[in-house]
Amino acid sequence: MPSTDLWRLTASELSSLLERREVKSAEVAESIVARIEEVEPKLSAFISRTGDAAVRHGARVDDDRANGSHLPALAGIPIGIKDIICTKGIRTTAGSKILESYKPPYDATVWSDLREERTLLVGKTNLDEFAMGSSCENSGYGPTKNPWDVTKVPGGSSGGSAAAVAAGMVPITIGTDTGGSIRQPASLCGVVGLKPTYGLVSRYGLVAFASSLDQAGPMTRSVRDAALVLKTISRHDPRDSTSIPGDRPDYLSGLGRPISGMRFGVIKELSGEGMQPGVVERFQQTLTTINRLGASVEEVSVPSVSYGIDAYYVITPAEASSNLARYDGTRYGLRVEAPDVLAMNRATREAGFGAEVKRRILLGTYVLSSGYYEAWYGTALKLRTQIVRDFEAAFSKVDLLVTPTTPTTAFAIGEKTADPLQMYLNDICTIPANLAGSCGISIPCGLAAEDGLPVGFQIMGPALAEATMLRAAFALESEIGFDGSRALSA
């Protein structure tokens, strides 16, 4: 393979070539930077680019390797980071105009771990403002386009991360997932997206949206790459008080082991009703594949998941309205001058926040306000308990739960922006895992017959079952043989 084509390879493939010294990290970085130059004008996947520094760091990794240093598996591999994860000294906007010039004075733990692993940061990827959205259209920096069809959305909120991976602009990105923001765009762009169990990966340095649900995770073009990245970023972090203590298992050792005897449960309430026929067809086909591999498939009822979206759109705006109170024009970010401090706060927030963020702040303030708190927020928290219990009951019968990741394939840019409720319904299959604290992964399972766009297959496991989930995802990926080359030709 000519070194100019290195951008086509997965992180695992690059890692082997680098370890055998058949290629250099600087060449990999140069190939990636050239690929970004080529397609970024069409896709707008990045808010900030750091390609020059990536090439320089790559050369240093090459020097150390030449000097015989033992380097980690991801050393010298380019990576993109969602622009809601703090990178010291590198602008971090959260997709918002209110943070347009914000340079964090510290690194998020996720990024400092990947930096110490010596990955090469090529840029900060686009997202819906403060991760609020399912299409990347709420970004303050313009929408990202889907590399399968540039008239379609890439999904969201980690839309830039998904599009960049699908188009070969970088083999790995880190996204965040509060109600599906890793899995939904992964599904729409035909890549792998993993949302870890809440507490598995540190939240330190993530710009907070809904703190009881936010979780960072990998987006890649292979299940093995997702496992490799998860191994690097999952650990207990004393700087995050919700970080789960204890060691993490080896996520790679189970890959390739058979899945015969595993029990898969199809969530009855999320198995096809009201979904696009081509999505349902690919989903059913994947269930057949599971059977062929010697695993069982049975229908499981999880009654409360039908209400997951309702609980979610009470709980997350409530948490967001509190978290976003900090953007007041005082310590960082935008300030719009006004004669007194209250007027300054109001003018700053009116100018700095986009429509979706305002909607959620208003909704959250409403459901927490005096007289409404119990009926709305209190009820949603009880419903969350019911969802946790229903998941526990389901996981007592089966090892893993499966659904289509999204009810439809990628939709047209502009199609759902006027109707927030329709936009919110995109996340109907992904939200329950966040509310329950489970882990989930979306892998591409084929193209829908009617539009030729990728369909995602979601696998969810109980808390801390990532190794089992990855083993199943790897077995299915090998059997499905998804072809993502059309996005790589974008």
Binding site: G89, S101, P105, Y106, Y198, G199, S212, L213, S241, T242, I244, Y307, D310, Y313, V314, S321, A325, G329, T330, R331, Y332, G333, L334, R335, E337, A338, D340, V341, L342, A343, M344, N345, R346, R349, E350, F353, A355, K358, R359, I361, L362, L363, Y366, S369, A375, W376, G378, T379, L381, K382, L383, R384, T385, Q386, D419, P420, L421, L435, G437, A463
Partner: protein, 98 residues
């Protein structure tokens, strides 16, 4: 579950948002639609179910209070819209405030 323009303006004040009239109209309509759907959770049999605010049952996490170097004052204040030495500067608060 229709909400009124006054409701929108009330929560906007609480949230320190200054909305245009067009925004008030738009958000009243959109928030009403979202709440109208979500209202169905209020008729679910949840009276005896305890609330879950958080998916992980972790208790308070304690650590020793150890002094560590933290030389970030300039980096932090470098992000401030306005500063006076080592202080954040804001418009006056004591007069004319609500």
């Amino acid at each position: 579950m229709a909400i009124s323009s006054e409701d929108v303006q009330h929560v906007a004040r609480l949230a320190r948002l200054e909305l245009t009239d067009a925004e008030v109209d738009l958000f009243r309509e959109q928030l009403s639609a979202v709440l109208e759907r979500a209202q169905r959770i209020q008729s679910l049999p949840l009276a005896d179910v305890p609330p879950t605010a958080h998916p992980v049952a972790l208790k308070n996490v304690w650590r020793d209070d150890v002094v560590e170097p933290c030389d970030v004052t300039e980096a932090v204040l470098g992000n401030a819209p306005d500063r006076d030495g080592a202080f954040f500067r804001v418009p006056r608060i004591l007069e004319d405030a609500e």
